[in-house]
Symmetry: C2
DNA sequence: ATGGGTGCAAATAATTTGCATACAA
DNA sequence: TTGTATGCAAATTATTTGCACCCAT
């Protein structure tokens, strides 16, 4: 987690960008939040440490980080976009009920390669698998019943 | 394609909803458009046949159809949501350059099942694989060169 | 005939942008 | 010091909603 703060900070510096107080705090929030937060959530969390930060600085920083490939903007469900700090290859479980997003690490899924059909469509840069459903919490902890 | 018009129309009627002139034309546009159009694109196409239709009727109809599971709202890239008429199990190639979305039919991908890890997260209703990259057209037809 | 559907306009949500000031390098 | 980043406010984009009238059933 502390490593993530360093990776993101270093990534910004390497792009010749300034590591401002605001950016550092945004990066800290992102590194500590595994829930794929949206801009609003990041804003609220950062405001606790930098009460004067503005929403558009959060938006601009999130855009900067994803333009640099340091975080990933995702939109699994209607509503605000969310941001994923995890830059290793992984997949997702998405709860269509509460919006929960959980990372999935599975070498078998990482091994999926585009077939000839897909290669004919274009060059593939990334493959990701999405499992949509209803999370355990939304089902009231009932694993076996409907 | 004509079959799709019937399936969507029937789907509406089965839900006890009225098959209005506007809805029928929207359904016709959707059935004929394989490009996963956004609301604006559907609106423009329908306007050629029903010049008085309003944008919010298009939005409302698209919402109605996806609520009934007759079409699927997808959002692969930033910007407006897009709608997928294809209700058979399939996957997608997404061009991050021009926004092209192509359907992929591949039984091997359809066969992906949630592992124990994923089952612990919740009940999975759908699995879909996304290939992101740059389409042939955006690469200028160059299949082998960078 | 009658209740759901439409069109209009206004509201809301999510995000972006212009500009003067502030601060990291 | 110097230009990039910030904060404020206003603009844009995408979508939703209230309401009176209309039309499919």
């Amino acid at each position: 987690m502390e490593r993530r703060v360093e990776q993101l900070s270093l990534g910004l510096r390497r792009s010749g960008l300034r590591l401002t107080h605001q950016r550092l705090e945004i990066v800290r929030v992102l590194a500590a939040d595994e829930t794929h937060p949206d801009a609003e959530t990041v804003y609220e969390a950062v405001r606790m440490r930098v009460p004067t930060i503005s929403m558009d600085t959060v938006y601009r920083t999130l855009a900067t980080l994803s333009d640099r490939g340091l975080i990933t903007r995702v939109q699994f469900l209607p509503g605000p976009a969310r941001y994923d700090v995890n830059q290793t290859t992984h997949h997702h479980f998405v709860c269509t009920c509460c919006g929960l997003v959980r990372d999935i690490d599975d070498p078998a899924l990482d091994a999926i390669r585009p077939t000839a059909d897909v290669r004919r469509m274009g060059r593939t840069d990334a493959v990701s698998v999405q499992f949509r459903g209803v999370c355990t919490a939304c089902r009231g902890g009932k694993t076996r019943r409907t």
